[in-house]
């Protein structure tokens, strides 16, 4: 027993002694001069496995293309960029612990955001409490911007509920005899997917287009035929899906099987992915989708990114990769402007202030942010025309004319 007590005493003395010096190395603490010359470490947690793993991959590739190009140009403030990825396995516990360890243990200079609205809020909480600027590529749901975050910025043209704005304008301006009278909405139970569909629903409903079906299905849904049956029974003029990939394919197939022939069919996310046309075959024609990025656009750095992406990963760049790349561009511009890249509160404050006030040239066009970090631009509308993705709205960016009503699928 005596030995134990002695051990206890030793431990408590050690503990007291260590308390003073143990955790001074948090961000904002002492700076080691050696770090100013090492690489700029950027910490990122992404869902490389689990439910959201596919878009996570695209964003990772976007980050890598950006880092590759920055390093080819000589780095950030003359220092090489080094990306540190962690897999969060689509789990918020892991997201938090990843950012916690990246910030306090790896002592990264900057952090970039993870994927999915569901993971962005816990991640942003960590970054915020360590005073880190948090530019993120995927948290578009409106709730993300209602948490009082001061250093969060969404690096895409618009938040989820504004994705369909151009389409809503187009529909409402149609002559009375062409204007749809009824609309059916089916949405995945997910803050982003619902945000997109409901943004459009609210605008159309306010203008008198009747909502005849408004269906929400949980993420584990695999059978869409009964949902399509409900839509078929209501015979809507237009069908809008608040979807991700799997369910957009399921819905399109089921709507075809149930012989629903709307004048317009719009789905979020799914149709912007390269796998979509193969998965739904011929039905792809005239499907509409909001998109924040176009491979053919000539915005700053876009063509270079598309080219470099192809060299590095073989395939065609997608919207997720572009969003990741955009994060890099914004942070790069801010770092270059304020000339610091330390994890200190002082430097991160400067970066955040700069991002809040500036307008940034990116691959998705010029971006600026409001006080809550919401981007203030708009998503474009894409449509499959003759089997190819074309930008149809807005007028200024279009590569083809919108086809309405759509051909039967």
């Amino acid at each position: 027993m005596a030995r134990v007590l002695k051990g206890l005493a030793v431990i408590s003395i050690c503990a007291l002694g260590l308390t003073a010096c143990a955790k001074t190395d948090e961000p904002g603490g002492a700076q080691t001069p050696g770090r100013q010359t090492g690489p700029v470490k950027i910490g990122i947690s992404l869902p490389l496995t689990g439910d959201f793993s596919e878009p996570g991959k695209g964003i990772q590739e976007g980050y890598q293309v950006w880092a590759d190009q920055v390093n080819a140009k000589g780095g950030l403030l003359g220092r090489k960029v080094e990306l540190i990825f962690r897999d969060d396995a689509s789990d918020p516990n892991r997201v938090s612990s990843d950012y916690e360890s990246l910030i306090t243990q790896d002592k990264v200079n900057l952090v970039f955001g993870p994927f999915s609205s569901r993971l962005v809020i816990p991640a942003a909480k960590v970054a915020e409490s360590y005073n880190m600027v948090f530019v993120e590529p995927a948290g578009a749901a409106k709730e993300v911007f209602e948490q009082g975050f001061k250093r969060l910025f969404y690096a895409a043209p618009a938040i989820a509920s504004d994705h369909y704005n151009y389409l809503a304008d187009y529909i409402l301006k149609l002559p009375a005899d062409q204007k749809p009278k009824t609309a059916a909405y089916a949405s995945l139970d997910d803050p982003f997917a619902q945000g997109t569909a409901y943004g459009l629903r609210d605008k159309l409903a306010a203008a008198g287009i009747k909502t005849v079906v408004d269906e929400v299905y949980p993420p584990e849904t695999t059978d869409f035929a009964p949902i399509a049956a409900k839509i078929a029974a209501a015979k809507p003029d237009i069908v809008v899906g608040g979807t991700q990939f799997e369910d957009s394919v399921g819905l399109v197939r089921a709507l075809q099987e149930l012989k629903v022939q709307p004048k317009l069919a719009a789905f979020s996310t799914g149709p912007t992915l390269a796998e979509f046309p193969a998965a739904v075959k011929g039905a792809v024609e005239h499907i509409i989708s909001p998109v924040g990025w176009s491979a053919t656009a000539t915005f700053t750095g876009n063509q270079e990114m598309v080219k470099r992406y192809k060299e590095m990963f073989g395939g065609e760049a997608n919207e997720d990769a572009a969003n990741g790349y955009t994060v890099g561009q914004i942070v790069e511009a801010a770092v270059t402007a304020v000339k610091c890249v330390d994890p200190t509160k002082e430097c991160q404050d400067k970066l955040a202030d700069h991002i809040r006030q500036g307008t940034f040239d990116t691959v998705v066009g010029p971006l600026s942010f409001d006080d809550q970090g919401r981007p203030e631009q708009a998503h474009m509308i894409q449509q499959y025309v003759d089997g190819k993705v074309q930008i149809v709205l807005p007028e200024s960016a279009k590569t083809a004319d919108i086809v309405y009503p759509k051909k039967e699928w």
Binding site: D51, S53, E54, P226, A229, K230, R253, Q256, A279, K281
Partner: protein
């Protein structure tokens, strides 16, 4: 009214598929009294193999079956003989769940490593068309799924009832000790039983690949549903599971068209708890279930 008919028709077709997917689970439980949590993971392993056959060799998805069915049979025998049979009999039920849970994670991880986490799908021309009978649309892919399930189940029943192997298998299911006394190699039979169960997963996987896109973590969704089906049907009863599958498929279809998807999924668990409260041995026979 036509909406209800439509829901009913879809429910019957889906229920047929559920019957196929759950039949393997009933077999495992019958021969070994184990709950095979990895069954859905094997289903998706089958789906991925079908995908490979279809995309790499350009063959019809069903041509994957001559490869996958024997392969899965051997895998099933191996899982039973090398893994399950090693577990101590006194808490086999519990340990087998954990063992097969580990197998499911292993498969998911391997699928994710080889095929990446992205969605895969097998789209055939017929997958988007449907047959219209009296205003009710019957999708061809679901009709195909239903008939493949029906044929597989008929073959399965024929094997169980007619063949010598089937007789020994049923004897093993009904009373293991007695079966051993009359000279049946119950260990070997149990192994084959597992093999047959897993072979149904190969067929089920191919059908799943036809009707839905999938990714490595897809199997989680199916665990709860299929478990509910075999409990409602009476653990260990293949026929009970088939009937319960159609019943739950219809209930799901009707609730989907009248209420919503959350309640439709909830119905599986409502029926599960109802079954346990009212008839713990399941609604359709399965007298051996009560004590396990």
């Amino acid at each position: 009214m036509s909406l209800l008919l439509q829901g009913l028709a879809l429910g019957v077709l889906t229920g047929g598929l559920y019957a196929l997917l759950a039949s393997g689970l009933s077999l495992y439980f019958g021969v070994m009294r184990v709950v095979m949590v990895a069954h859905p993971a094997f289903l998706f392993l089958g789906a991925y193999l079908t995908y490979t056959v279809h995309t790499v060799f350009g063959l019809d998805p069903f041509l994957a079956l001559p490869v996958t069915v024997p392969l899965f049979f051997v895998l099933g025998v191996a899982v039973q003989r090398l893994l399950i049979a090693r577990l101590a009999p006194e808490n086999l039920a519990m340990m087998s769940v954990l063992l097969t849970f580990g197998i499911a994670l292993t498969i998911e991880g391997l699928l994710g490593t080889f095929y990446t986490g992205s969605y895969k799908s097998v789209s055939m021309e017929y997958a988007t068309r449907s047959l219209t009978v009296a205003g009710v649309h019957l999708p061809y892919d679901k009709i195909i799924a239903f008939w493949v399930a029906a044929i597989t189940l008929v073959v399965l029943f024929a094997v169980l009832v007619k063949s010598r192997f089937g007789q020994s298998l049923r004897a093993t299911i009904q009373h293991r000790e007695a079966a051993r006394l009359v000279g049946i190699h119950t260990e070997r039979v149990a192994g084959y039983g597992f093999g047959v169960g897993l072979a149904t997963a190969a067929v089920g996987g191919t059908v799943l690949a036809l009707i839905t896109p999938f990714f490595p973590a897809s199997h989680w969704v199916w665990i709860g549903k299929l478990m509910a089906i075999i409990v409602v049907g009476g653990l260990g009863s293949v026929i009970g599971a088939a009937l319960a599958a159609v019943l739950l498929g219809v209930v799901e279809g009707l609730v989907l068209v009248t209420v919503d998807a959350t309640w439709a999924t909830m119905m599986f668990y409502v029926f599960l708890f109802l079954a346990l409260l009212v008839r713990p041995q399941g609604f359709f026979g399965g007298r051996l279930a009560h004590r396990f």
